[in-house]
Symmetry: D2
């Protein structure tokens, strides 16, 4: 029997056969409303994970924490925020796969050990977590979550180094894969980015116009902030200073901000998908405006794969920016031929007598009078399983379109991501299993074209090969030894 | 002390100084899941009112009802829908002003009287409700809501006509102002539109591919549906047949659909604001696609008020369609320079240490790298109080824009609406109180232009003067005698 | 399939085959926190109705209201209470039968008509409501609830008398049956009791120790309160002044309290069941402490129906007071042989593999070590359908009791109540259909005895025959012409 | 500013200055609805902890879990229970002090380590947890909760023993203090009681009348259950077999139930407070019916401290059983002079204009007509801070009582409990700081008497000195080295 309830999380801001993922992190040091700004900073990064959210704050002596299932505005009430006292804080917002969606895995993780109390929020995915976990369990560690992040806490606890920072650096060097981290000890904040720099982590600053009654040594009135994306800075009025470098640790304490490397220089592997789809267009990621990349993707796509058509129609919202680029380059008019419904609530009840393509229709309505008799260029940012794209092509045709030319603003997705984007397995990726013609036929499109890998690199100005393109090539920049842990859980 | 909680309803799909309005209605006859389709039909019309929702259904013998505060997906659970049995149903979704926002005014209204039980859902506003109410009270009627709609029920109850339909027609002729109605008696459905046709009401049909086990005489397998906007038909797969005519009643019963006039022909007064802002772009309203009107508004605006600028930026989402038209006509590139945040929850907590323009920033983020150094044409569909527009101009400037040229896709709003759109009082309407130059100065814009009234009429092809433009001219097509009732209430 | 969810309302404070009913009312005049005290006054009377609650307040000029489904503490939050401004208020708490359990019937009812705005809260049941309603509908009234109370509002509105009080008195004289009422007009409070005095209504007073910043003429610092039961006064610290007399109206306005008769003297019909079961033991009802009546019932029962047994065990909580009386009179030790579980939540989920007598076991656990081998006198206040009593006898036997002697502290319930207590129909009343021996056998008891009617009257000192005993005799003190209205509704 | 919201948890089943405590545990092996019966078993033990609840279940291969804040019926919905699959389960219900009330400490704890996955639920308190934790942290363990229980998991993980049971026994021997435990590994259930037997743990059995489709080797149709109190068995229809012995481990696996000692015989230290107050009267605890102990306490108290009075009145519900005993022994009549309100919801809002003794009045109402002019023996089970007792004495006097003689059914509480009962610190215990006369004066009582220690021991038949009476004597049976951990948290 089909499930009659359609979870909004399956619909919320992207389709249910796209990428659900992953995490947004935030850190703030020296602000009288640290937790409240963390809440705003997470809110601005809500698109990076809608399943759970958490904040850990500190007044330098005592640590406060709260986490829960749901979106930021649901998890934190005014009362909860008031109780999250102190002047430094870290926060986390998260999506994850069904298997480990439990509250138990919500972050920040908080643990006490021989070097004090530490809280950590993690964006990314470790590729040797399983190995490390096995080794740690063998020597007597216990694991209370299925999250990779817990491994790091154990490594720090077990490190031979007495000093926290030495132990931290020591432990980080044992990790493989993707990690952007913010850590909070009682009175310090750390921000860390893995040596390859898979995930972004930006540094921001605010200068208070008054001296603040904070901790003993904190008269200087400077607030430091860290976030996965710079859009978090815009909301709270912080200034974007620059990216934390791959392999770098930033420490903020009473002496201000100190940055140092914990790892030797390594080739970079910036996640190209942050530019293709994942980041907000108003963020600057890896030193580059996302909207500019997306428009460039569309322009390049128009050059590589022109179409003899009447109008350019995006799949909203993911295909909008590329469609604008395509339209600008091709000269074909840009039209909102699919209207997105913004009122999708938490759950939606399907009628017994099933309506064809119900899930997609709930979200998108074709504008018949605009599409009728037209030849359409339909622009989207990716095709994953193909099921939703197929439904969209169908409803456009049923609205009277004469031709549908599907244009995708990146190469075919042929390999799962192991660095923090929740792609389905290879078996489920349509482009890993079918030819271009096969996919076109499945979609029911008149033509189908993807952007080339060169075009993609060009669009993000990746002259030096600093981007990871594993999902389009299968060439993973690190060893892969991770195997999922077998416990199950429910919310 | 300012209120620290920002209600999502103030932000949800439009800005808090814009139009909160009004109502969407839906009716369905002869379908085994009548209430469920009503739920979907209301959902598709959620933009017409997010404050309360209700459905009344019937199996021809017994009437079932449920209403509640909130959006459709919150008010109706699977369990509730199951209990709304029967094969005919009407539904209502509503926004209303603070004073009478109570559940008590949620619709459909349901009453028993000498002609049986009747439920009614109303979109519009009566301009002689106060007068009628006074007269009815004088002769012994009691009022349990502050809604105009209750007046109609009393008139029917008190009509000298014995037959329900005679009494109905008799009562309607006493009403002045705007009303599109769906009524349900035990086994009949009525749809009604006022003689001037202020509000839309569309007729749709579905043909069941099987014979349905419904009421005794209902073998024919035809389902009739009615909705304020045709987008409701698209979601449930119904076919748009045409508009109910002004002054017309449609009755659906075991004999099928019957249409007849209850009022003589009168000049029409279609609400032009449905095309400017209120309806969904994918609807056909007053026989005309809304998206086409909006693009035409933008094109016309570009011709009337060109700007020496670099890019065209819409205020999302209300200004998008007109901005596309402006861009197409002017040749200036269209860019999403303001990113809208779709994750605004029910309430949002403002920090103590207030962030400038917090409310707007929560909803819109300027894309600095796109705006910096540019001359911007900022397109929106209207300016009401001006406070939000001013904030938007400011954040665009702070993002580095060199010039901001505000272009509004309709004439200045100088008079409140008394036909169902919730505009503020004249005192609060900036254009009713300031000159063009005064408004420009207040907004902090480099230039400001509104579309002309002729341009507006042209864009909606109003050759015959069938549209009401009272909000732009103050020329009301009916007498105005309504005075608000003084009771207060809370949710 | 049996329903797996057991509603707490079926269990909450009494068993699901007992009396659910009915209403508690409260009124307060001249207090700066009128609505808040109404909330407390309703809370103290929560046992009189747990299904919905409502308060209407006024500051003399403007009326505020809120009602909702659920218990008092659920319906009213701090925010809601703050919004219920003013210095006079009325409140209502309600249970009702399934058919009309909707929010729509929640009270107070509020209506506007030719004599202004009036809110009313009603405890009782009219026996000619159906007749009156028919007559009113015939002359053009519309009904928006299925509640009797709405009839009164229509009668006042249609009264030929111009003055509100004249119209009120005029209307009351047309009502038959049971009604204790509190009414609020903008600046006045009325309390009313039907001429037979079926339901209680008590008057209380508080003297403020400071002069209050209230309405213009209200310097006097006296607060008047009204409640169904005096326990409401105890919680808020008001002094019980005396009962409102049957056929009396009390008006409180700027001139203080005025009492006058609206009806000639009539024989009284105080509900004896208020003393047997319904009222709280700490209330004084009809001028007499309830706990004293209950103990007297038990003592009298011990004399009328002694048992050769070892211990007296009450069915908690309803049988406790009578059991103490029985024990005191008989000399048999009183023991809590059944432990009541106070943690019954809103719903409780039954296991698939059904547990025998699950519903009763959730609420009551027999104390095996106390019952084992003993001869038990089991005291309860009534047997309605007999199903629960049968289960209780069974679990006591299964706990090892040697003999179970059931003693009921009133006569057999043979006729339904039409004056405000929600008894099942005669067909469902076991005592209306079976002999004493038949009931004993059904219960599986070793012996069974009810209190005699004389004994009952004696216990409440009813020398003058002022009590209604219709449920035990079928002799109704008024004509009965009510027929239920056929609309259906859901919460 | 005083907090206007009174948490129901402060009122729910005991007063807010009494003991908030502690935990109830439950385990079940071999039942097709294991989690559902665990839910019922926890529900029956709800009085042992209302703050959080959790269940871990298993089908022998996969582990399912859910926990949340609130009472059992709130934490578990039908949907949640359905997802907790399998045929063995453990559950936990918990109260705890403010400092560590977070969800993070909710049990069962679940961890993976070198010996597999294990879940544990703990009732009690370790007195060397701090020491063990420090030692574990020093050797590299991390702690994610502030709960004692986590220590045990680490000890097992780090044990040199390869076999799980050897490691378990090894680890238990390192613990000092109170622990009754249920543990679940994938396909086994363990129940454990500390060598002194501070906390109860009962064994029960059910025999299924059908063969169940469970794990491979489980044809035998016997279900084993464990619970803190036997009342849990009554609800689910299980038979009480006997207590688990102090120092004993019970293992249930495919081979059935096996019991063995893990610790040498030690003097016993049964918590006497389980009989005085904590356990339900219908439970058998430490081989003895609780109701019998309580009645004996009251009888003995009547002999030791007679009063020249008219009636015996209990503080409901805690003083009821002892008051019955006192009445029976003294011949003074037992009367419910204080009526308890059962409708206290989650939060209750106090009026601005404070009502004297508001919190107590919300819960208890004195029956004026019963108390007036009487000399009262007021029986309660303990006085902790004295503030609530003082309020109760005051409201009894204000209701007109002539004399109030307070009788407490145990000795003065002079020392905090470190074995799992949440008593306040010594500084807050009135009896630790004031003389008998001082307490009497503070309470405003005419006389005050406590039961003697000998009387207490006698009442529970403690001939062999097997009970811990540290709270009355300060003689702790174990070394105390625990110091609270300094992290703070919120729900």
């Amino acid at each position: 029997m089909p499930d009659k309830k359609i979870l909004a999380s399956q619909l919320a801001d992207r389709f249910d056969d796209k990428f659900h993922d992953e995490c947004g992190i935030f850190g703030i040091y020296n602000h009288p409303e640290a937790a409240h700004l963390a809440y705003l900073g997470l809110y601005a990064q809500q698109h990076r994970g809608q399943e759970s959210a958490g904040i850990v704050s500190s007044n330098g002596r005592k640590i406060y924490h709260h986490k829960g299932m749901g979106q930021v505005a649901e998890v934190f009430t005014e009362e909860v925020l008031k109780d999250l006292r102190g002047w430094l804080a870290i926060g986390h917002t998260r999506y994850s796969t069904a298997g480990d969606s439990a509250l138990l895995n919500a972050q920040p993780l908080l643990a006490g050990f021989n070097k004090g109390l530490v809280a950590v929020a993690h964006n990314g995915n470790l590729t040797n977590a399983r190995q490390l976990r096995k080794r740690l369990e063998e020597s007597g560690s216990i694991f209370q979550t299925t999250s990779d992040t817990e491994v790091l806490l154990h490594l720090i606890a077990r490190s031979g180094k007495k000093d926290f920072e030495d132990a931290l650096a020591d432990s980080l060097l044992q990790l493989e894969g993707a990690y952007s981290l913010v850590l909070l000890t009682g009175d310090r904040l750390y921000a860390i980015r893995d040596p390859r720099g898979f995930r972004p982590l930006a540094i921001g600053m605010m200068v208070q116009n008054q001296s603040l009654p904070l901790g003993p040594d904190l008269g200087r009135g400077e607030t430091y902030v860290f976030a996965s994306e710079t859009c978090a800075f815009d909301l709270i009025g912080a200034r974007f200073v620059g990216d934390l470098q791959p392999g770098e640790i930033a420490r903020v304490d009473a002496g201000g901000l100190t940055r140092f490397r914990f790892a030797p220089e390594t080739p970079h592997s910036f996640c190209i998908f942050e530019h293709v789809y994942f980041s907000r267009p108003d963020s600057q990621v890896f030193g580059r405006p996302v909207h500019a990349s997306r428009e460039a993707l569309g322009r390049r796509l128009a050059r590589e794969a022109p179409a003899d058509a009447d109008i350019v129609v995006p799949v909203p919202d993911s295909g909008v920016a590329a469609a604008i680029g395509y339209s600008a380059e091709s000269g074909l008019p840009f039209r909102f031929g699919l209207i997105r419904n913004h009122y999708v609530g938490r759950t939606f009840i399907e009628p017994e007598q099933s309506i064809r393509d119900f899930g997609v229709k709930l979200k998108l309505n074709p504008v018949r009078t605009l599409l009728e008799g037209q030849r359409i260029v339909l622009v989207d940012d990716s095709i994953v399983r193909g099921t939703t794209s197929r439904k969209i092509v169908r409803i456009i045709r049923e609205a009277g379109a004469k031709e549908v030319h599907v244009r995708i603003s990146c190469p075919p997705t042929v390999a799962p991501c192991y660095y923090g984007i929740d792609t389905p397995t290879q078996k489920e990726l349509i482009a890993a299993n079918y030819s271009l013609e096969g996919i076109r036929e499945y979609l029911g499109a008149d033509s189908l074209a993807y952007l080339s890998l060169d075009g993609l690199r060009d669009a993000v100005s990746d002259a030096r090969g600093e981007f990871c393109t594993a999902c389009y090539t299968g060439n993973y920049p690190t060893k892969l030894v991770n195997i999922p842990v077998e416990t199950s859980s429910r919310r």
